[in-house]
């Protein structure tokens, strides 16, 4: 079982790769809309990637209003 820190780290790595961000530039408390300059559709694409990676289902309502990696990690952790 992953720890919350491990989950967060994996999310940051996946987001860095998916959106081609500079390695190490993303932090847990970052607002991913602002930091990555993405729109709501791109955020949904990221969620699909995360679902495949963690082998979970994350309903849209679970991430409604979530805009930082830390909260996203907590929601994913709860479903692992």
């Amino acid at each position: 079982m992953r720890t919350l820190e491990q989950t967060t780290q994996e999310i940051l790595e996946l987001a860095t790769k998916h959106f081609k961000a500079a390695p190490g530039s993303l932090k847990a408390q970052d607002d991913f809309y602002k930091k990555l300059g993405i729109d709501s559709l791109q955020a949904l694409e990221l969620l699909s990637r995360l679902e495949n990676h963690f082998h979970i289902e994350l309903p849209d309502y679970e991430v409604q209003g979530v805009s930082d990696f830390k909260t996203l990690a907590e929601r994913i952790q709860a479903r692992l």
Binding site: Y33, K34, L41, L47, P59, D60, Y61, E62, G65
Partner: protein
Amino acid sequence: MLDLSKYSSIGEAVRDALETWPREVCLYESDRGEEKQRITYREFKERALPLAKWLQASGFRAGDRASIIMTNQSKWLISAYAVFYCGGTLVPLDYKLKPEEQWTLLKHSGASVLITEHPIWRQLSVSLCRAQTPNVKTVLVTEAPAIADLAGAQPWEAAKGTGEPVFVPRKREDLACIVYSSGTGGTPKGCMMTHGNYLEQCVALTSIYPFWPGVKYLSILPTNHAIDFMVGFFGPFICGAAVVHLRTLRPEFVREAFPKYQITYVSLVPLVLKNLQKGLQARFDELPPAKRRIFERLRNINKTLTKSRPILPLSRLLLRQAHAGFGGKLEAIIVGGAFTEPQTLQFFYDLGIPVANGYGLTEAGTAVTVNDLHPFRADTVGKPLPGMEVRILNPDADGIGQVSVRSKTLMVGYLNEPELTAQTIVDGWLMTGDMGRFDAAGQLQLFGRKKNMIVTEEGKNVYAEDVEQAFEGLPVKEFCVFAANYIWPSRSMVGEQLVLVIHLEPGKAFSEELREDIAKRNSRLINYKRIHGIVVFDEDFPLTASLKIIRVSLAERLGKLERNQAVVAV
């Protein structure tokens, strides 16, 4: 299609539709690509009437208000019909708002009943604002787990009365819905729409884009939005057509739904349309050079042959693969909610996929103008719909002035806001605050706004005043939020942004600490409401006798500054 001239209310028309097409499917509901249910018109009636009976037994009467806060799904429409059956007024609210915003609007609307989904209720029920909204007496929650503590709510699925409910007739002038066009932070703008408004709008829209049994409309825009309410509920139902709900907005499932259900119509906001364009363009770019040349040639042939009007069978034949991705039955993509860039519209039309571009406002009862595709014009928002009078007020040398509208589809006014209503509807004409002109062919072109607001590509209206709450307590003498284009008028409606104007305390300088404070507050706002820049202004803001900022005067003074120099990044 039912002859709507014979009906006085939404409920009456839908009631007849349910009897007219009992065996037709009216709803398809899918979840993550897996179809969960299909509901016929008869089954829709069988699910709605026990709910109507339950509402009546619980004391819900004609004119009472019931709010729906739900994602797009069958129970949204079933609940809405049950409310109309009882003669109630519907208050559809955006499920994406924060709980405190939803409670504010619930209080303002005076709704006595709330119908919502369990994940939404989980957040609403623990909000401190709940205690300040005693008007909401009954809460029904869908899809709640059996062991869930519903915090005073009741399961929707158990809200079934026995026996036949009484159909409560309404007149055309009676209120059908209160639709909030904005106002969660400032003045709530609850547009009071009558049954007559919807009946008239539906006749006008379906005269250009008809529905019929067999049509499948993909419902993606939230149903509380005026467009989806009309073309994802009322319009299809009174024509015997079907609505497809996906329960998710993930792009991969939306893409999959087109061929799976052979979708006939879909409404999209510009953001989603542009995303589709990006995906298609990437696929075309990957074609080997020889195939790419053939594709370009076919696209050019299609473009030439469909210049004066769409010829769908021909386009589907010529550009088979591109159309296959859309299911091969797509009649048109309806695009709305915000301004769409002409090159995006042209991209789809060149592929033989008609895009119904239009212009509308909630206050005007959805659409005012729409492109009838004869011929397709990417640079305009089309001609006024039948029954719509549109005129340009005080046109300048280029013919550009404020667009004003008069029709039977105009709202009665804003709920509890007589002054605002009087400013917005003058002598029967709706002052839209949008700037436009008619071209020689009678098509409307839009050129920016006169009002202090922005519309995002997601179709969200954001009034500058509504965002100010987030900056209350900022250590400055005074502040104000503006749409940048309101200060520095632009003839563009693309990429609109908000700016925060601050007047520092005497002797204080703009510091990094203050910038960080602003950035922190800004990040707490939902992404589309955030400000994009800060303007430090050295003068006292002009104030009324009651110490309210005179925004028009302040904007005029700010307008004298050079935009690029005045705005600093957040």
